[in-house]
């Protein structure tokens, strides 16, 4: 008799534990749905704000570039900025984020990495490089980390010809 009562209590306790687990799962799912939806909303807003920032930055870049510079950037994927101090040197500023390649004549001489300390849209980064090279080349070169040409693509370069070997 006592054994059957003990077994019944055991099963009742197990049932309550099972119900508690199900309730906890229900609450967890409910929280996920509520806060998950909220987070998706924020991400979407953040994404559209970023698109708007990119659109504004692109507008400013196009206002600042000459028609020829715009065409070059569109077709080649980089903007060539002439060195104001060194004859024959050009800086190739990529449209996307990445290193600036420095050419002297047709020879790559180094790669430069300079970044703003805060996030700005890609088109603003192109404009930033152009302004700094044109108006403040010396400080630009002092700030930039300088690498072998072609870095970080792990190509071996012949320094005399500036071509990969």
């Amino acid at each position: 008799m006592m054994d059957s009562v003990g077994a019944a209590l055991h099963w009742e306790l197990a049932a309550w534990i099972g119900i508690a687990i199900l309730a906890a799962q229900f609450v967890a799912i409910l929280l996920w749905v509520l806060f998950g939806s909220h987070n998706r909303g924020l991400t979407s807003k953040g994404y559209s704000a970023q698109l708007e920032a990119e659109r504004r930055a692109e507008g400013l870049l196009q206002e600042t570039l000459s028609a020829e510079e715009s065409r070059e950037l569109e077709h080649r994927g980089y903007l060539e900025v002439r060195s104001p101090s060194r004859e024959g040197r050009v800086y190739r500023v990529p449209r996307g984020r990445g290193m600036v390649s420095v050419y002297e004549g047709s020879r790559a001489v180094m790669s430069l990495c300079v970044q703003p300390v805060e996030w700005i849209p890609g088109a603003d980064v192109v404009l930033m490089h152009k302004l700094m090279i044109e108006a403040n080349e010396e400080d630009y070169l002092k700030t930039a980390n300088q690498f072998e040409p072609g870095y970080p693509y792990y190509l071996r370069w012949d320094r005399r010809t500036g071509r990969p070997v």
Binding site: A53, A57, L60, T64, P84, D124, L131, M132, E134, N136
Partner: protein, 81 residues
């Protein structure tokens, strides 16, 4: 209209002022110039660099606020990457 454009996470923030009105002492234009100068100094203090930009001319570095500049663009502080 002259412009001060600060590059930032929104693309840029622009402050405009009318140089012609400022020349004749228009209080609104003078207030806009004071506000632009305050913003200029604030960003300079944070390490931003300022450049004057005019069509067909190379950019020039600007150390002090120039209310006669057609367009000033400020870029945030940069570092070697």
């Amino acid at each position: 209209m002259a412009k001060l454009r600060i590059l930032n996470h929104q693309g840029d923030t622009t402050v405009e002022w009318d140089t012609n009105k400022a020349e004749v002492g228009d209080s609104e234009a003078l207030e806009a110039i004071r506000e632009a100068e305050r913003i200029f100094e604030e960003h300079k203090a944070k390490g931003a660099a300022a450049f004057t930009v005019a069509p067909g001319k190379p950019a020039e570095k600007l150390e002090k606020f120039d209310k006669t500049a057609e367009q000033i663009i400020m870029v945030p502080r940069v570092a070697g990457g």
